[in-house]
Amino acid sequence: MENETKVMSVRDAIILAMSEEMRRDENVFLMGEDVGIFGGDFGTSVGMLQEFGKERVRDTPISENAISGCAIGAAMTGLRPIVDVTFMDFIVYMMDNIVNQAAKTRYMFGGKGQVPVVFRCAAGSGVGAAAQHSQSLEAWFTHIPGLKVVAPGTPADVKGILKSAIRDNNTVIFLEYKAQFNMKGEVPLDPEFTIPLGKAELKREGKDVTVVTYGRMLERVLQAADQVREAEGVSVEVVDLRTLMPLDKEAILNSVKKTGRVLLVNDAHKTGGFIGEIAATIAESDAFDYLDGRILRLAAEDVPVPYNAKLEAAMLPSVERIKKYILKLVNKR
């Protein structure tokens, strides 16, 4: 099993990661709306009720505040809940529990207690569900000391990062993308396969331009990188953050120092998004002195996500636009 892999979807990688951790540690359990017989709004717990029973695959009332609060209290007293938030937009009702309680409890208590909860959030647009069902709100949480935030972009990373998040003794906001539950890739089957939080990965090595990204946009960035390398001979280094908090600044800065050119890409609204923080981090660091040009950003437009499928799609960075920006950086266009 140790080196075996299997091609599977992000959805199945999530189910596998949770199931393995629930087998490994009886304190781990899943709770949320319709996680049981329904198998989760996005099918991310199909079959788990059958294996683990309804105590550990726990359907809840439609009560996001109670769900999050209950998870935190359970975590403070020895359990390790995973919460299926379903659409990330519904996290609005969990803000007190996540921000004022989970993130601060240990600090306010002078280092006592811990709150190991994973909040799994289906982020982003792409399913024609309009403005209240399409947000990527990671920037709210990266701003709050005491929270970890992760957003893996491949099935393997999803598995490895989710397992680490479940094992972590802190509250972790885990982004999964509703548009990518069916995305497939090789996933290690070893139940001890994990990916440490806080470590970015160079998904491509390159020397001309650095593109920093995470989560949903990784797929497009990789396509764009491969295409410009092929078509224009531009060598793009792709830094996949995977974890936003704690941020792997070193990986970012090293790459920028190497290439001198940087593009930042994510799928949240541009203004106030997390890539702004990355831009600022670069601009205040010694990597600034290596920059050959502006720090460019490509993100979702600053408009509520529209319903119409074409408009919805147009609000996101496309592969074409990512390529254009890469070429702009190397002055090819």
């Binding site: 329904f38 359907d59 309009a130 069902h133 509520p304 529209p306 119409n308 147009a314």
Partner: protein, 331 residues
């Protein structure tokens, strides 16, 4: 569970209104069945939730309102929108994401609204319309308009904190609002009986010192209408809010995709036998308010109107890319 009882109507209702309500029920049924048909063929781009099976619960309630009264609605808002007499062409165009849609193609099924006609909007957030409802009621109270607000939601929504906060605030301020829980027995896959510790949602009125009302057969249009006439009068008279619940059933899955494993075919079939439209049709015929032919003609015209709306929607242009950047801020 609701038992099928004989329909009753305490009110004297003019024939025109009786038939109009029938028309609205047909419109809801035909509209949603058509949309469902198109969803299955991939002709509808986004998420939709159908009101099929819940026609009486919607039409009977809203028919008791007067012009100028307001409603807030939820994700399952088609039935309420149609009962509020929204333009069907625009609504169909919206669901197809067209520029001519109610929301210019930017809102979709879950955000159908018509402020001019008093529909403050469907809402994608469970409980999301409750705050709006009490605020709209506060406006009526402060401006002494004599208008009232009806806040429509499902059964599962009563477990959101906003239900509690808004019910309480409305009760303390005696706001003119009817809280209306349309109980179709499930929130997605979750039976309401498994997520509340009382028998019915209306019983929660006790926590706010307000009347709780129960419509055991929410598929019985005259029963729904009668109860709402009573409640509208009570609320409009300045007595403060009420909570009312009706039992009904959704024939289709929760949303566009739903494996439906959580309920049996038998259960669904039984409810289909309690079809609110058939029931109302029989009532009208038995009470000599209309002939079968008259009613079939109404249904036929309704079908035509729906087909017309599809044509309108199909022929309508897609919104322009620029339009995505408009309408964010008011001047």
């Amino acid at each position: 569970m609701a038992k099928s009882k004989k329909s009753t109507a305490k009110q004297e209702i003019p024939k025109e209104k009786l038939l109009h309500m029938y028309k609205l029920m047909c419109d809801i049924r035909n509209f949603d069945e058509k949309v469902n048909y198109m969803v299955k063929r991939g002709q509808v781009p986004g998420m939709t939730h159908f009101s099929v099976g819940e026609e009486a619960a919607n039409v009977g309630a809203i028919a008791a309102l007067s012009k100028g009264d307001l409603i807030t609605s939820n994700h399952r808002g088609h039935g309420q929108a149609i009962a509020m007499e929204i333009g069907l062409n625009e609504m169909m165009a919206e669901i197809m994401g067209k520029a001519t849609g109610t929301c210019k193609g930017k809102g979709g099924s879950m955000h159908i609204a018509d402020l001019d006609k008093g529909n403050l909007g469907a809402n994608g957030i469970v409980g999301g319309g409750m705050g709006m409802a009490i605020g709209a009621a506060l406006t009526q109270q402060m401006k002494k308009t004599g208008k009232i607000v009806m806040c429509c939601f499902g059964d599962g929504a009563v477990n959101e904190g906003t239900f509690h906060e808004t019910m309480n605030m409305a009760s303390v301020w005696k706001l003119p609002v009817i809280f209306y829980s349309i109980n179709n027995f499930y929130g997605i896959s979750t039976p309401i009986s498994s997520v509340i510790n009382v028998d019915y949602n209306y019983q929660r009125a006790c926590a706010y010192g307000i009347p709780g009302h129960f419509i055991e057969d929410g598929n019985d249009l005259p029963a729904v209408y009668d109860k709402f006439v009573e409640l509208v009068d009570y609320v409009r008279s300045g007595n403060g809010p009420v909570l009312v619940e009706s039992l009904t059933y959704r024939w289709h899955g929760h949303s566009t995709s739903d494996p439906g494993k959580y309920r049996t075919k038998q259960e669904v079939d039984e409810w289909k036998k309690k079809d609110p439209i058939v029931k109302y049709k029989n009532y009208l015929i038995e009470n000599n308010q209309a002939t079968e032919e008259e009613l079939d003609e109404i249904d036929r015209k309704s079908m035509e109107a729906i087909e017309e709306s599809v044509k309108f929607a199909m022929e309508s242009p897609e919104p322009t890319l620029e339009s995505a950047f408009e309408d964010i801020f008011a001047d």
